[in-house]
């Protein structure tokens, strides 16, 4: 009976992910997920070995209240931090469950204290190891995303060598733990894994955060898997594998969006550094500057406008003003669409959520491969808070650090409007030759203020 109920719950989780294939089916999917979780929790509460309903109920209420409070109050711009924080909790929970299983193996029928089955010990320590890494890595990622810790990659000598040594040390500790089942060794594994988690995320820069967040998502799944093996619980194994696979695929998509291998990202040292050397040769070139009225005039006389938002737009909280601008243009009979680069936000799909929050209909928001061939037929590209993802150097300049990265072909549209605070380079530290082209107009200023001014000019 228990196995059947767990199976139903696992199937519901699969349906929850399946629902996300389309926005219309996604809400039902979320409900499937919730039902699956309720079934899983109540099935477990029905176990003969479970008595302490009050304590467990209280624990669920406390946790649930905290979780609900945070989830209802969080700003959508802060979504990546929230997800990182949540991942850290999954990791920590995995460590605690593993510890509980170690101290009371009878409750999980994996042996007795001091004589736990070898297989269970191995699975337990691997679960602990991944859980602890997820915990500390996510805490650090949270700090970097929140801005409490500098987003700059911290690279020091022998970094990878040290990480490799620590990894070997952990393997050694696990073997030792399996042999002598000592609590001291168990907690040493926890501490050393936490240290490794920090060291793994430290060298990764701010712009690579979408990959890191996805990777930690994946780890949290594998941690659940590890615990699932320890407890011989298929529900945990299935769910862990689903989450692990999901995170792995997202990491793959994100690193492909930056044309970098996952290994390259993990080794770190990219992003956040402003390398000024590459921008020197362009200092004497002329940029055409414009103001809000110019931009309004250009767009008003166009048939089609593609808006390319980047993280800078989110930082300036310009999404509502931007949508207002789009609405006015649409009323004038101009076709307005949004082009989203895979790494446009701080986590996968972040920009889509921000635009949806500003009431931009999702049908108008298109992915890179859906819209890229439309740029040559487009009159105006309105780039706001994005830079590297539009840089043609990614296609032409083999020496450029962003060479090979898929970009949005805004340079093919008849004219380009660039909203930027200054001439500063993007995360990659590469200058954008697009700024100096004849058909480009630079609109310097705060993204939100600029959109509001354009709205004013359009309505005048």
């Amino acid at each position: 009976m228990v196995a059947i109920l767990y199976l139903i719950s696992a199937l519901l989780f699969i349906l929850a992910l399946r629902g996300l294939s389309h926005p219309e089916s996604s809400r039902m999917g979320n409900i499937f997920g919730i039902i699956g979780m309720i079934i899983a929790v109540f099935t477990t509460l029905m176990f003969k070995s479970v008595f302490s309903y009050y304590e467990i109920g209280a624990a669920i209420l406390i946790g649930g209240a905290i979780g609900s409070f945070i989830a209802l109050r969080i700003e959508m711009t802060a979504l990546p931090q929230l997800v990182a924080a949540f991942h850290s909790l999954v990791g920590l929970a995995a460590v605690f469950v593993a510890a509980a299983a170690f101290y009371d193996p009878v409750a999980f029928s994996i042996g007795k204290v001091g004589s736990i089955k070898t297989a269970s010990l191995v699975e337990m320590s691997i679960g602990t190891f991944i859980g602890a890494i997820t915990f500390s890595g996510s805490v650090l990622a949270f700090g970097k995303l929140q801005g409490t810790i500098s987003g700059k990659p911290l690279v020091f000598k022998f970094q990878h060598f040290i990480n490799a040594l620590i990894f070997l040390l952990i393997i050694f500790l696990i073997i030792l733990f399996v042999v002598n089942q000592s609590p001291t060794i168990f907690w040493t594994i926890v501490v050393v894994s936490i240290l490794l988690g920090f060291l793994v995320v430290i060298p990764i820069g701010g712009a690579d955060m979408p990959v890191v967040v996805s990777m930690l998502n994946s780890y949290s799944g594998w941690a659940a898997c590890g615990i699932g093996f320890t407890l011989s619980n298929n529900l945990l194994i299935i769910t862990g594998a689903l989450v692990g696979a999901s995170g792995a695929i997202l990491s793959y998509i994100m690193s492909k969006g930056m044309n970098r291998s996952i290994i390259n990202v993990v080794l770190g040292g990219f992003g956040g550094e402003q390398d000024s050397s590459s921008s020197k040769d362009n200092s004497d070139k002329i940029v055409k500057q414009g103001n809000a009225e110019d931009a309004a005039y250009i767009m008003k006389n166009a048939d089609s406008v593609i808006i390319v938002p980047g993280y800078g737009m989110a930082v300036a909280q310009a999404q509502h003003a931007l949508r207002e601008m789009g609405d006015i243009l649409k009323k004038e009979g101009i076709e307005v669409r949004y082009a989203i680069h895979p790494v446009a936000g701080r986590m996968p799909g972040h920009m889509n959520v921000l635009l949806a929050e500003a009431n931009v209909p999702y049908e108008e928001v298109l992915e890179l491969d859906e819209i890229n061939h439309d740029f040559p037929m487009t009159e105006v590209s309105f780039v706001i808070g994005a830079n590297d993802v539009t840089n043609p150097a990614a296609k032409t300049d083999e020496s450029s650090p962003i060479f090979g990265m898929p970009i949005l072909d805004v340079e093919k549209s008849q004219s380009v409007l660039f909203v930027k605070r200054s001439m500063a380079t993007g995360y990659s530290g590469v200058d954008n030759e697009l700024f100096y082209r004849d058909n480009t107009t630079m609109l310097f200023g705060d993204a939100k203020k600029m959109c509001e001014d354009i709205v004013k000019s359009l309505s005048a």
Partner: protein, 105 residues
Amino acid sequence: MEAHSSEVFVIGLTVFFLACIIGYYVVWSVTPALHSPLMGVTNAISSVIIVGAILAAGPQGFDTSKIFGLIGVVLASVNIFGGFLVTYRMLSMFKKKTKKTREKK
């Protein structure tokens, strides 16, 4: 669940690989626009680890294992409620805002 331990492990491994394959296909079918909600949902369901925490917190009396279990229940609950709720918030923004008449290119 009382079977020979290596047999249990092989069953677990079978389930694991099949689940990975299902995960692979299901996740690739997720539309890129919904990748953030995907992270929200996966975050919530990975907290099914609460099952283990409840088992640890279940027995009568108070010992180390039970305290660990209860902490695990609290942590996982934060995630379950937080994860599903934040996903709900995100998804409700993706409701259709234009009229059903979608002009095709």
